[in-house]
């Protein structure tokens, strides 16, 4: 690993000042992704500003009638918090399907949003990768791309976003609060937070340089009765999703009145299934409708040489997640 400086910020202000004063500086959450990438020489910060111990390590009620998750709170503490389990069981379920208990204990909510792709070309510095080294080419495009995207990719990058938490957040329509080094604050709709690769895959999201994630704001409690997070992976735990589906349904009088649907493992960002959501609203829950929703969701899929399996798998996964959500007795 390259030598680096370490700064432990105790307050937001300290963190923001520290990043403003330095070139090649990065925030450090739990370090479960960033430190791994530093060992691989993929990330090369000269200064690490630790933000995992900031003064805002809390879950609080917000003005929208929902809850706000502090960026510095750990994934475990968030997923296991009674407020979250009760009001956003879909989020809790998705978060607990990720990684291992040890990693979730270290990982922060802010870090989870910013974890980088698991594309093997991105991790290996001797390989071409536009995301790691803009202009070097995309090794995966004509290479080993079985785990890569079927939606929204470009010739510059076919990577997927690996987070489970983010798939649930997309289904729940959360927003992200950030603060710039100059102190100004803004919020970003979750679906606009991550971006598609286009011609600049080095940018995973819409954060500006130095911006600190301070919180994730959840809307009013949602999908507390009918929800399911389905994660298809190569082993029963401690593996990233090949495909995942976050499904939430609101059913009143036997009719679907609201639907939240998003997929993981299929795109450069958590993939919200807007057309399928729209289709389901007003329908009676049934396998036929779920299958039609899956068909709509996968209509635009564009597969690569080795990932054609993701279409049938995705379709089955959407139907199954909806069936499980429907059948769930809260």
């Amino acid at each position: 690993m390259r030598p680096f400086n370490y700064i432990a910020a105790k307050t937001r202000q300290e963190a923001l000042t520290a990043i403003q004063e330095r070139e090649e500086a990065k925030y450090l959450g739990g370090g479960t992704n960033l430190v791994d990438l530093m060992k691989e020489d993929v990330e090369r910060p000269e200064h690490l500003i630790e933000v995992a111990d900031l003064d805002n390590d809390r879950i609080t009620a917000n003005a929208a009638g929902g809850y706000t998750l502090a960026a510095a709170k750990s994934n475990s503490a968030t997923a296991n918090a009674p407020e979250i389990r009760k009001n956003y069981p879909l989020l809790s379920m998705a978060m607990l399907s990720a990684a291992t208990a040890q990693i979730r204990n270290m990982a922060t909510n802010g870090g989870n949003l910013l974890q980088r792709t698991r594309c093997p070309y991105f991790f290996e510095t001797s390989m071409p990768c536009n995301k790691r080294e803009p202009g070097s080419g995309c090794g995966a495009l004509e290479g080993a791309n079985a785990k890569h995207a079927i939606f929204g990719w470009s010739k510059s990058c076919v990577a997927t976003h690996p987070s489970d938490m983010c798939v649930a957040l997309a289904a729940l329509e959360a927003t992200v609060s950030v603060q710039a080094p100059d102190g100004s604050e803004r919020t970003i709709d979750f679906t606009d937070f991550h971006r598609l690769p286009g011609s600049s895959p080095e940018k995973d999201n819409t954060l500006e340089p130095g911006e600190l994630i301070t919180a994730i704001d959840l809307p009013k409690p949602q999908f507390t009765e009918h929800y399911h997070y389905l994660k298809i992976r190569e082993r029963s735990s401690y593996a990233f999703a090949l495909i995942s589906v976050a499904a939430g349904l609101k059913i009143r009088g036997g009719i679907i009145t609201d639907a939240g649907l998003a997929m993981g493992g299929v795109a450069h960002k958590p993939w919200k299934l807007t057309s399928a959501e729209a289709y389901l609203i007003g329908k009676k829950p049934s396998t036929t409708h779920f299958e039609e929703a899956a068909r709509l969701a996968l209509e635009d899929a564009q597969t690569l040489a080795y990932n054609a399996y993701k279409v049938p798998m995705g379709s089955k996964a959407i139907v199954r997640a909806l069936e499980q959500a429907y059948a769930k007795k809260a």
Partner: protein, 714 residues
Amino acid sequence: MNSYTSKGTGNPINRVEGKLKVTGMAKYASEFNVKDLVYAQGINSTIAKGRITAVDTSEAEAQKGVLAVITFKNAEKLAQYEKDLHPLSTTSIQPVLQSNEVHYYGEYVGMVVAETFEQAQYAARLVKYTYDESKPDIDFQASKPKAYKPTEQSDYSRGDVASGLAEADVTLDETYVTPIEHHHPMELHALIGSWNNGNVQAYASQQMIDNAAKTIADTFKIDKKNVRVMSPYVGGGFGSKLAAKQHVILALMASKAVGRPVQFTVTRTQMFTNTNLRQRNEQRIQIGAKKDGTLTALSHDTLSHTSTYEQYQESCGTVSKMLYKTPNNSVTHRLMPMNLQTPFAMRAPGEATGSFALESAMDEMAYKLDMDPVEFRIKNDTQVDPSNDKPFSSRLLNECLRLGAKEFGWENRPKTPGTMSEGNWLVGYGVSGASRRAPFMKTSAKVILELKDNKVYATLQMDATDIGTGSYTILAQTVSEYLDIPVAQVDVELGDSEYPVTPGSGGSWGAASFANGARAACEQAMKDLKVKAGATDATSTAALMQASNLNTLEAEGTAEPDEEYKAHSVFSFGANFTEVWVDKDTGVFRIKRMLNVASCGKILNPKTAFGQIIGGCAMGAGMAIAERTEVEPNYGNFITRSFADYHVPVNLDMANIDVIYLPEEDKIANKMGIKGIGELGITSVAASIANAVFNATGKRMRELPLTPEKMILK
């Protein structure tokens, strides 16, 4: 069970070294406190084929703490292979950094030696290589025309397969594929090595001490007696630590260059690129049988790869020569030279992979014949090894199958695939037969007896290793038995080349060989004692020492195979039963339960033996569930380069594994009646699982691992 009150073999006592391990007191290779220690970090090539045309070491050399940067330009000249395509063995020399040629991605092309590990690691990234790159041979399909017949393990045949197939009522001709896998013991390969007046001292993580000493001696062209290798504890090996690997030579080369002891710890990523692998095998099986299930022909043709400069093949076909009775049999192996590392033995080399092909094919045949897969195997049993006409020393395969079927509830299986379900899950049962050679090898040991407070304390010394298997414990039990003293009064010292020579841990011969060696030393001690004591009515060992007026006594003994052993074919046998639940839509499956029935001679300690079998089953499940190393199709590196991408099974995948040992003592195998179990457990487990998946779904999966991706596309 408490180790301290126990006496003799056969009891499920806790590990005698368990406390040392859980308290961190057991020292592994890289944990020794050696004065003036410095650190070496290997540098790996970033191309799969070509030549190094320039190396720039200046930036690395300028770093703080850097003591040396060694590349092919300034490396010490070592012994070289005398012929091309040298068959790699456990005693082969390990020339490294001897030329500018690159044979595979990740090959060592240099190393940095520095005061600290961090300095070495950082500087290693700063050494700049320029390559003249050629197109590597990394495509299995494209390499097929280059396949050749390996020097060793030539083709085998008896009878005539073509006519056997012609007279069959039912035939099968299918190809089964197993991927590249890696051993990945938990303990990384490591060495702390130093030179002192031409003498080498090495704290190593090796399965075979004597072979490691030989490799070091031969590579540096010195006498083996000037080499001391110590591996008191080894955190697993699975075959990857049978031979001393290149890092052993690199560490010693570095130590010579800087004049200080050097630690070289292979990184987890280097465990993929620099400590060998299990090769990918394509195995074509042809079977012919009469309507009643009698086999008329069986052929097994294996195609694998090796490096462009060494040969190694695991003999997948071995199992097809001996497991079932068939008059017409042929086995071939072919190798393709490729720009990949040389493969090397991984747990049950040949059997683990060969049994996937054979036992899947046998299952397919049973369905074609509309026979119970258990009965089909039983029907073709043989008590004589058909490959050499020697009787088996003991063979209880049928008994394993019968007992297993009864205990597992085999009669409840869905007779027609895809007809049993539980909600969204399809349920299926699978079976497989297993065999694994149970060798016994010449082994020596020394025992030192001491009389203190009217009690005899014994110390056993041998260069045997405990690679996590339980050697310390079973040897303490053996000494306790043959000296007739409690286990608590026995001390076992292993893993030092100064101790009597053993074959080391590998090939499932450890327990049988080590225990008999220890027995021989103890018997010698008792014999000497009785002579010295003269006429006496003393019976206890302590009384005999008193009668002979001795406070200490040393004795050495050697055990080796006798004529009876050589006149027989000696194998362990087993049967594996698995129940799987396969999701009807998503391609995900779970192993619900597994039963392994093993017939493997005398069980020295049921607890450590159990660990061997369930560990084997878990590793076999890994073969079926997810384990595979993937080669990048354009550059030839491994895209699975950490435990985040190389998936071994987790507890949730495994559910319950039960083990039953058939009571047995095979006195032909050796005096103590012990047979190997270290590799029996993994053998044919993948087939048992794949067969259960077929039974559940009607999908015949002929390529491992059975990932959701393959399941959904089938």
